[in-house]
Symmetry: C2
Subunit: 465 residues, 2 copies
């Protein structure tokens, strides 16, 4: 599986260079002009080669509800989502395929799937997701979404004495499922990783967090959670802990260099310093934060104090797509309205570094992937610079990040294996996937969520709406 | 040119219906189920039919600098843009074609081109733009960008006594060019309109505004300007007029139902009421406002007091694309972070109405286009609901607005003429266009703008950076 890409454009310090790139045994063996050919020859003329991006936070099965969710803030949106999410494993398989395909065709080579588990079929859910990602060939971090408190516990109580139903599965049983999943599926050499992923402080006990810490330390795995996505969660943390969520998570030892945290919208300056100090990673999901009205995460501040930041699409029903280039664009330019001084704004080159190396670091893979570096694994994406959306020729990285590139991904390699060639996904038939997605769905008008009706008055009260 | 679309999905009050649509002599003749066939039969199965959207503010020739402009606020960005914009008429022609194609393939049937004129070749510039839009067949409102003050006059003076160079052409000469353009090119029956388009208070004298008012009244034409895009312009208006820009424009009689105003980011509540009262239209350009750090326009407020709002892509070097669906998505969800109460947020159905009927009203064409209404001109777009990006099937309008649709436009008609069929632009060869754009350009790294260097210190001082 050795090959040589010839005459391809790559970004170098403040400029571009036309180079050859040798790939040997799945790794980048050399980058230079006029290299000897090893293996097959790939023509890189009029193409741009970049390290693959990481879709650092998503929930694949939300694909089934994209486009139809009401225009609600997270807490109500989640109630509606769960009312209409009776998934089966076939759907989980298809939406994992769809998530992988859309990620690949927008520059991603890795995906973090904060995977919603079908109750009672937890390991089966993980099994089919793993199967789908293996089939497509994308690098996949499966982070099974776990909790041990029921939905209403995620909304602040305010003045009221709400009693929440017990969660249907015990904390211990959940942790046992996770350990089985690790033993069955964590195979980094095959590009499949398991992460410990308690959903967040809003629905998890300290016992669950601590169990996850133990397992992640025992097996050297990553941790992944939502963190302070909404104002409601900020209030809730105060009610639960009497301190901020970040202070609490730090106290129980959850934050470290293997921890990535989706959203991080409502943090104090002191919280931000804790993230920097613990080397935690922030996963920025700009589209979801806008769609759900969660707020604008203080990404410029994170970068100023040295917190690692990467990009995620978030689940497709709060976005409502899996186009990573869109998340990168909006997640870069959005912050220009939060700070008048343009010298603090994110440049396109910084954006692609956040999306590639930033993503890799958040998965504790910063030494293995995320840059065009000799010795690193060949997770690479080659873009066609003759696409209408990347013309006229100006600054290729600028066009890619700030434009609206469509049909621009020519080739994708993961671990040196070609999984997209000439714009086509190699290992699955995308037309059949489209037919399956069509067959398993129906056009619908807006639905009415029973749970939203039950909780909306309380929500509006406690949020002072 | 009569035809009948059969079995196509259209949105109706809170639901969808499958209908037939008869088009006769360029107009919608009937919409109902089981209509008789007139003319050719078009299969609408698994497709969604919507009124065409309006790309209500752009500058086509900026396409030549998309992707490469520095990460600057408007005032510095503009200085850089003009340093590197030595256009010729061939470039103007090609970028007008490109703008038309990208607009059509993202759901637009009309484009407002706030056209930058080549100095000394003003009418030639308009001639080639008209030629390009006629060629493609899109409905085009050519709004030649005029001013009578030079660039530095657009930055507030602050404490300093800056002397600005005279503008190279007199106000009177500019107005004469405009009247020639009207007489030569304004042909609504052919889908080509001229609008009076003084760039904005930052670079126009009252004499220029008043000349434009007279011409627009004499010929019953639209008026189009930038308005309060940046904080700097807000300051400048205070310096120039001692009141807000809106108060001043209202006083001189510029604002009426034929006036559309791009950006409108920095308005007071009282300004907003003036826009409502004068029936002026706001053109929201969310991507450009983010890219340039201009701010978030108070779109929810505009809608609450009854100001008509439409969407624009703005020029491709502050966006950096002409994908109207992207502008609609971001221009809809962006405002959810400005108002905690989700009951005020824009729904997908409202978004498409803003993009179609809102756009039409802003051009004084609300009675002629902008909705699926019997008797209106057939400016229609048919979307393929079997595209991967619109699957699984949920709510088609939700998917279109909130998703990231790519390759979804199947057919476009303007005035009942098919100009995109089966996803292909009919009247020009897009492959040749790509080749021409490629040939006329070079990949570049960042450039250094001489003018930015000259004005940056003053800009930072006056903006207190």
């Amino acid at each position: 599986m050795n090959f040589t890409i010839q005459n391809v454009l790559i970004p170098i310090e403040d400029d571009y260079a036309t180079v050859d790139v040798q790939i040997k045994d799945g790794k980048i063996a050399a980058i230079s002009s006029n290299l000897d050919v090893i293996g097959a020859v790939i023509d890189g003329k009029n193409k741009l080669l970049l390290p693959g991006f990481v879709n650092a936070h998503t929930h694949s099965s939300e694909m089934w509800q994209r486009g139809i969710m009401s225009i609600y803030p997270l807490e109500l949106w989640l109630a509606e989502l769960y009312d209409f999410a009776p998934l089966d494993t076939e759907q989980v398989y298809l939406s994992a395929l769809g998530t992988a395909v859309e990620t690949l065709l927008s520059g991603g080579t890795s995906v973090v799937d904060h995977l919603v588990l079908i109750p009672g079929k937890e390991l089966e859910t993980i099994t089919v997701a793993v199967e789908a990602y293996r089939k497509v060939g994308i690098r996949a971090i499966i982070a099974p979404l776990i909790q041990d408190q029921s939905l209403t516990a995620g909304i602040p109580s305010g003045e009221s004495d709400v009693i929440h139903e017990d969660y249907f599965r015990s904390t211990q049983a959940t942790l046992e499922i996770m350990e089985s999943a690790i033993n069955q599926f964590h195979q980094p050499e095959d590009g499949i990783y398991i992460a410990l992923a308690p959903t967040g402080i809003q629905l998890c006990s300290d016992a669950l967090f601590k169990g996850c810490i133990e397992l992640s330390d025992k097996y050297n795995l990553c941790r992944h959670s939502h963190l302070l996505e909404t104002k409601a969660q900020e209030k809730l943390a105060k009610e639960k802990y009497g301190c901020t969520a970040v202070e609490h998570l730090h106290e129980i030892g959850y934050l470290n260099y293997r921890t990535s945290l989706a959203h991080c919208v409502h943090l104090t300056d002191s919280d931000i310093n804790i993230l920097a100090q613990t080397q935690s990673t922030v996963v920025h999901n700009p589209l979801s934060n806008l769609r759900l009205g969660s707020g604008i995460a203080p990404i410029l501040k994170y970068r100023q104090v040295g917190v690692n930041v990467s990009f995620g699409c978030d689940g497709a029903s709060s976005n409502d797509s899996q186009d990573l280039l869109e998340a990168i664009k909006i997640g870069s330019i959005l912050h220009n309205v939060t700070d008048l001084d343009y010298q603090h704004w994110i440049t396109p080159r910084e954006s692609i570094e956040m999306a590639s190396l930033g993503g890799a670091k958040g998965l504790n893979l910063g030494e293995e992937i995320g840059s065009l570096t000799v010795g690193k694994k060949a997770d690479l994406v080659m873009y066609d610079l003759t696409s209408l959306s990347l013309l006229p020729r100006t600054d290729p990285v600028g066009l890619l990040v700030l434009g609206r590139p469509t049909n621009v991904v020519d080739s994708v390699w993961v671990n040196g294996k070609l999984i997209v060639g000439n714009g086509n996904v190699k290992n699955i038939d995308v037309d059949s996937l489209r037919q399956e997605l069509f067959k398993h769905s129906q056009w619908q008008t807006k639905r009415k969520s029973k749970t939203v009706k039950e909780i909306e008055t309380h929500y509006r009260g406690v949020m002072e709406l």
